[in-house]
């Protein structure tokens, strides 16, 4: 079934048929979804699609794109996507990554920052938090994990439209697929690569925006500060009364910051 509001195409990458959602017109923006998979159309998609073509690949193993059994960590997945953007002639491309997807973008940038033009990391995992811990999604049900992502799940309209109400069997299956693939690539160390902190020097020169909720309960703000410190010239924007999903919890401010950064 096609994702509502998007066009959907299948792109062959090596042995894998990668499902890619597209929206909008203009310069491409690569969107890397997070650990719970791609959940649906949001205001920020529509806003950015006015000037941009969003390319949203659905990561292998998360349901729509078949699992690639050789992908066993986030770096493998990054190498897979490096091939995808090269073969699709998207490089150098602007990229925005959320949580696990932010980690993925950061890994790709450490390997070859030249494949990106600008990079936005939103609540990105990938580094061992200097203080606090990355919330363990694997000892919670999918539903509880999602609810804990935001500061107030009952009063965040876009959150409710995506995840509210009775959990459906289809949602259960989708979330289990997402959790399983995230476990395959990020089980231990959980949600970070030990060496990345030392490789972020490679990202110097790549315009980078870090967007974080000050109360992010999933990836603590200390991770944002570490990214900020290690990526020379990066800009850190934080929102108060905001958790792990600024794109939903602070939608208007988020759109403004990202649009202004991407230009």
């Amino acid at each position: 079934m096609a994702e509502k509001g998007f066009t959907e195409e299948k792109v062959r990458v090596g042995d894998t048929d990668l499902q890619v959602l597209k929206l909008g017109t203009g310069k491409p923006l690569l969107v890397m979804h997070g650990e719970m998979g791609f959940s649906g159309l949001l205001k920020w998609h529509t806003a950015l699609a006015a000037k941009r073509t969003l390319h949203i690949p659905l990561h292998p193993g998360f349901g729509k794109t078949p699992q690639a059994s050789w992908i066993m960590n986030v770096r493998d997945l990054g190498a897979f996507y490096a091939r995808y953007i090269r073969e699709q002639k998207l490089t150098p491309v602007d990229v925005i990554g959320f949580s696990l997807g932010g980690w993925l973008a950061a890994e790709m940038a450490t390997a070859n920052s030249g494949q990106f033009n600008k990079m936005v990391l939103v609540g990105a995992a990938g580094l061992r938090p200097p203080t606090g811990e990355i919330m363990d999604m694997f000892t919670r049900t999918a539903r509880n994990f999602l609810n804990e992502n935001v500061v107030d799940y009952q009063n965040t309209p876009e959150f409710s439209s995506l995840f509210g109400g009775e959990q459906t069997p289809a949602q259960y299956e989708e979330w289990e697929e997402a959790r399983a693939e995230t476990a395959r690539i990020a089980w231990a160390p959980y949600m970070f690569t030990q060496s990345m902190e030392h490789l972020l020097a490679n990202v110097a020169g790549l315009p980078t925006l870090l967007v974080w909720g000050k109360q992010d309960p999933v990836v603590p703000l200390s991770v944002a500060e570490l990214y900020h410190q290690r990526i020379a010239g990066s800009k850190l924007v934080t929102f108060d009364k905001c958790g792990h999903m600024p794109e939903i919890e602070k939608s208007a401010e988020f759109i403004k910051e990202v649009e202004s950064f991407l230009g």
Binding site: T141, E173, A183, W187
Partner: protein
């Protein structure tokens, strides 16, 4: 044979019930001095079963839970290998996906087989979901770890070394274990399970007897049929020797005393309250098919099939109400023969029914729940001296051959190519 979890009973029941789970109770409730007494008591019981003439003692393994202190079952097996003379030491099973070094496991088991004089019956399990968390073993690779570790252990036991192993998950430059099992080509292997179709089919393909762990009789029979069909695909007729069953049973001098023991089986919600759903089903632990099946039951994805705990328990807030719901279920659990209680005389007709329905070649008694040592020993004595000899006679009468009498997988298929059913739906119907 005989089985008991090695439970730590000094945790207040309310602590388990309020968490809806044994797994996850903080270990600040554990007192090693009390645990040591219990662990030795459990070993003594197993040694006593040897003296009573049981054919086997069964061990299992769990981690991070007062439900079972046997966190390293091979340690207990090693003690029993030396301290017993005759019983088979049946390990159901080693959770091989949680063992980071399968080669070491192959060595441990080989030593146990040698010390016991060839009395080891190893078995493999995927491990409950919570075991993956307790060992930080990636649940999304559980099945792959299981398959590869199994193949590696079997190779270590049967392929002349040294050889190299470059798998997906395990890598060894030098597989050359000096200690090897006494039994050749390798010890007999049995597999326990909670009626997962994937495991049942895998067992049939490998000709491994499948031991159902106190599952409901109806679904258990369905698994027998699935095994039998798969066995036929692999060219053999399954027989009683391919099947085992674990039966919770509580025997005492009087019905009342037996009932008191039986009720304790539901302590803390019993087996059905082993772990919360998020710990039972960590990410990727289930196959896509199993996830699909669960999706339709997502409101209460605890154990498959009917559990000893009523479905609505998870919505109850009040501990007293939960307790009532648990223990109110006792009579129906007895009625469906999930729990059998009584004197030797009164349990035998009930056991006969189970044996007539399932026709297993392997049969294990299961005693659990907090109870004074004397009562447990009485139960064991009565099982050993009165119940077991009678069960053996019933087995003979029903033609229930065990895996040491008929080699599993050795029966030819009928000339029609269609396998005969092993269990008896008619007997189930008659219950």
């Amino acid at each position: 044979m005989w089985f008991t979890e090695r439970a730590y009973h000094h945790v207040p029941e309310d602590e388990v019930l309020k968490r809806r789970s044994f797994f996850g109770v903080p270990n600040t409730f554990f007192d090693p001095a009390k645990g040591a007494v219990l662990l030795n008591q459990y070993l003594d019981e197993k040694i006593y079963t040897d003296e009573l003439g049981f054919d086997g003692v069964m061990l299992n393994e769990h981690h991070g839970t007062p439900f079972c202190m046997g966190a390293v079952m091979d340690v207990e097996a090693a003690v029993l290998a030396r301290a017993t003379k005759r019983v088979k030491i049946v390990l159901l099973g080693n959770p091989i996906p949680t063992v980071a070094n399968p080669l070491r496991l192959a060595e441990e088991l080989a030593m146990i087989d040698m010390i016991s004089g060839g009395r080891l019956v190893p078995g493999w399990v995927r491990g409950a979901g919570s075991e993956q968390l307790a060992n930080n073993s990636n649940p999304a690779y559980n099945r792959e770890y299981f398959d590869e570790a199994h193949d590696l252990i079997m190779a270590a036991w049967t392929r002349p070394g040294p050889f190299r192993w470059e798998g997906k998950h395990f890598h060894y430059r030098f597989v050359n274990p000096w200690v090897l099992p006494l039994q050749k080509p390798h010890p007999p292997i049995w597999i326990p399970g909670l009626i997962s179709p994937e495991t049942v089919k895998w067992c049939a393909a490998h000709k491994y007897p499948y031991v159902a762990l106190a599952t409901m009789l109806g679904p258990t029979l369905e698994m027998w049929d699935m095994y039998t069909t798969e066995a036929a695909r692999h060219g053999y007729q399954a027989g009683p020797e391919n099947f085992g069953y674990l039966q919770p049973i509580f025997v005492h001098e009087t019905e009342e005393q037996a009932d008191a023991l039986g009720r304790n089986f539901l302590f803390g919600g019993g087996f059905a309250n082993f772990a919360r759903p998020e710990w039972m089903f960590p990410p990727g632990y289930n196959s896509r098919e199993a996830t699909r099946r669960l999706a339709s039951l997502y409101s209460n994805p605890n154990l498959p099939g009917k559990t000893l705990i009523p479905q609505h328990l998870h919505s109850l807030k009040d501990i007293a109400a939960i307790k009532r719901a648990v223990y109110d279920n006792y009579d129906s659990a007895k009625e469906s023969l999930q729990i059998i209680t009584g004197t030797p005389k009164t349990v035998l007709p009930k056991l006969r029914k189970v044996l007539e329905v399932l026709r297993p070649g392997i049969f294990s008694f299961w005693l659990d729940g907090p109870a004074p040592r004397e009562d447990r020993m009485t139960c064991l004595r009565l099982l050993g001296t009165e119940v077991m000899p009678a069960v053996r006679e019933i087995g003979k009468e029903l033609g229930l051959s065990g895996p040491f009498e008929v080699s599993p997988g050795s029966r030819p298929l009928p000339s029609s190519g269609r396998p005969d059913r092993v269990g008896s739906p008619e007997a189930l119907q008659a219950l």
